[in-house]
């Protein structure tokens, strides 16, 4: 492409960006002056989003190659910031009720209160007081640590998710591999597995309460999380193992791999991407299930905290609880992605090569 053509394209992108900026500003000004925001705010939010996408598309070719990564990061961070700003403005303009849709600044304040203030009646807070751990362990040993952990709603939720996930995942992996490798086991179990898989797991919580000696303890909650994770991991592992390309197995055999060696060096690495897909789904489902259980059947946990503040009508604290749930989702997924990179370093290399191309 010649230099003139490049300059022409550059100018065209600039003009497009300028035009969309003009439409964006003009539209917002006219609607504001005519006082139409309350009636049209949904349409305006959608329209502004479309215009922002057009502007970002137009601006992208104007960004120098060395700054592309920074530009993309700005888009990734800027969009949620704009959303929050829009929310704040809609409340300030009286379009959204501050009682039911408190502005982000109030939610941030409520989150700060939940994190820093101990409930004087239950002696609990969102994070608890982990900094006292060395002191309590020195004084009372494990009992001191347990008492301190009981003060934290976040710890309660995390503990249930981790234990449930672990208890469900290990047998899920074993059964999934067995079903993937053995036609007999697959034939026997597949239909049963499919039938149980579609059950809403929250619906089996009352049954779990009957199974455990202490129906109001941690057992039934962790069991339901484990069951949720088990089905997803089993099905994904089975699919991962079954879908291994025959050429890989053949190559393994040619190199003399049999039995456990074949499993360790060929089957497992080949099935791992699909297995990790299942683990990601299972972890997300585990979080959803435990939050739902905590809503109605628990005295601790982030789900309990969220629903509690709805029930006593403190909406900003309820939203703060939802923010914590979202952050938990992001954090847990990031943790699993990091583990995936650690376990499958070759995938990272492949992705990098693809990216370079």
């Amino acid at each position: 492409m010649s230099r003139t053509q490049n300059e022409d394209r550059h100018t065209a992108h600039k003009a497009r960006l300028f035009r969309s900026l003009l439409v964006f500003a003009g539209l917002n000004l006219v609607v504001t002056l005519l006082g139409l925001w309350p009636a049209l705010w949904w349409a305006m939010a959608l329209g502004n989003f479309v215009l922002l996408v057009i502007m970002a598309e137009a601006a992208a070719p104007l960004v120098p190659g060395t700054r592309t990564h920074l530009y993309e990061q700005t888009l990734a961070v800027g969009f949620p910031v704009l959303l929050l700003l829009g929310w704040e403005l809609l409340v300030a303009g009286g379009i959204l009720s501050p009682d039911w849709f408190p502005p982000p600044t109030r939610i941030a304040r409520a989150l700060w209160e939940l994190s820093t203030e101990q409930n004087p009646f239950t002696d609990t807070s969102l994070f608890g007081r982990p900094w006292l751990l060395p002191e309590r362990v020195a004084a009372d040993g494990a009992a001191g640590a347990a008492a301190l952990a009981a003060e934290s709603h976040l710890f309660a939720t995390l503990m249930r998710v981790f234990l449930g996930f672990l208890i469900g995942t290990i047998p899920g992996l074993v059964l999934g591999v067995a079903m993937g490798l053995s036609r007999t086991i697959r034939t026997m179990i597949d239909a049963t597995l499919s039938a149980f898989y579609v059950l809403p797991k929250i619906a089996i919580f009352p049954i779990m309460m009957l199974v455990f000696p202490n129906p109001f303890g941690e057992g039934p909650k962790i069991a339901v999380v484990a069951i949720s994770a088990f089905f997803l991991v089993t099905i994904n592992t089975m699919v991962g193992v079954r879908d291994i390309e025959p050429v890989l197995l053949e190559a393994g055999r040619n190199y003399g791999a049999r039995g456990l060696r074949m499993f360790r060096h060929v089957v497992l690495p080949a099935a791992l991407p699909v297995i990790f897909g299942g683990l990601r789904l299972a972890l997300g489902t585990a979080l959803i299930v435990i939050i739902a259980i905590e809503f109605v059947r628990s005295q601790t946990g982030v789900g309990f905290l969220t629903f509690y503040y709805w029930e006593i009508l403190a909406p900003e604290k309820m939203y703060a609880g939802l923010v914590v749930v979202m952050m938990l989702g992001v954090g847990l997924t990031a943790g699993l992605t990091a583990l995936e990179r650690l376990v499958m370093p070759w995938r990272r290399d492949v992705k990098q090569k693809k990216g370079k191309r």
Binding site: S97, M209, I312
Partner: protein
């Protein structure tokens, strides 16, 4: 002739005096034309039965009200709909969320009472596991310290209020026991599995555990005569449509008068109850009735007690007492009483 004229004049004057004295109430209560639409959200419990009777027996229509009723699971949802103007009247329990809503300045107010707790023979009791009672481990409320006590509705609910009132009798608070949020239908099974020590239990579940022998009554008549539920009007309904609100309350009062004594279980009333809540005729016939005050008195003292208990339990977002008189509009009940000639 003069004598006759005098008699006629006296008669006319008497008639005028009668009209001045009695007819205004009758005139105010004339049906609205065209009928006015009223959307009512309610938590389906028997304490709002005056509304069920007024709706099913045509009393709302009689006063020109076109009432749409919507059953809702939680009072907090109704508060949200009331403040958004989607619901005109809410039949809700006066619980922690209601007090927090008022403290936030939400524009809703009590316009009529729900049913009052009976003075004696209340259907809601504090029951304790039979083996704990028989072995002497729990013989009074004071023995419940540290024990697992179930209450439906969870923190800040009506169930917690009743539990707090029961525990007061043993100088305990809800923080002195392990308070468990368990739905009423799950409690009999929990008693059978011995996973509970005590519970606040309403009808018909209380009768169920008592007849099964898994629990015995520890305390009853926890809040005699107290109003824990009410009809709450949205600000728009109360301020912009007072004529409609007056007739709504009048219809409730008329319904309450149709529910006194044996009439409570009349065929027409039973049909009304069963149309609005999930229960059985047997449960209605065997359960102890609550009080449907024919005068629809709103007891502010009872409301003050409810507020104080929730505040002391730490369920309110404020710490200073909140006077229910600020959010109670007695004018509708007074008008209805006058219209009924009471």
């Amino acid at each position: 002739m003069n004598y006759n004229r005098l008699r006629i004049t006296a008669l006319v004057l008497s008639l005028l005096l009668f009209m001045v004295t009695f007819l205004p109430a009758q005139q105010y209560a004339e049906p609205l034309s065209p009928p006015e639409r009223v959307v009512v959200g309610y938590v389906p419990i028997m304490k709002f039965a005056t509304m069920y009777v007024a709706n099913s027996r045509g009393i709302f229509e009689k006063y020109g009200l076109d009432v749409e009723v919507q059953s809702v699971r939680s009072g907090t949802e109704i508060i949200a709909f009331l403040t958004q103007g989607r619901v005109d009247v809410g039949g809700i329990a006066i619980v922690a969320s209601t007090w927090n809503a008022w403290a936030r300045g939400m524009d809703i107010s009590v316009i009529a009472p729900g049913a009052l707790e009976p003075m004696e023979g209340s259907p809601t009791k504090m029951v304790v596991r039979t083996d704990l009672y028989d072995s002497g481990q729990i013989r009074s409320v004071a023995d419940l310290r540290g024990r697992r006590v179930a209450m439906a509705g969870g923190p800040g609910s009506g169930g917690e209020y009743l539990a707090a009132k029961a525990l007061e009798r043993g100088n305990l608070s809800i923080r002195d026991v392990q308070a468990l949020n368990i739905g009423n239908p799950d409690i009999p099974a929990a008693f059978a599995a011995r996973s509970l020590d005590a519970a606040i239990l309403g009808s018909p579940f209380a009768e169920q555990v008592l007849s099964a022998g898994t629990a015995v009554v520890l305390e009853e008549d926890l809040t005699p005569g107290v109003m824990t539920v009410a009809f709450v009007g949205s600000g728009n309904f109360v301020n912009q449509r007072p004529e409609v609100a007056r007739r709504f309350v009048l219809a409730l009062m008329e319904a309450a008068q149709l529910m006194q004594g044996d009439e409570y279980l009349s065929d027409a009333n039973l049909r009304a109850y069963l149309r609005h809540i999930n229960t059985t005729e047997d449960a209605l016939r065997t359960g102890a009735p609550v009080i449907y005050d024919p005068d629809q008195e709103i007891s502010l003292d009872g409301l003050r007690d409810v507020e104080q208990v929730h505040r002391r339990n730490g369920r309110t977002e404020y710490s200073q007492p909140f006077d229910p008189a600020q959010v109670t509009d007695l004018s509708f009940v007074r008008w209805a009483r006058s219209a009924m000639g009471r």
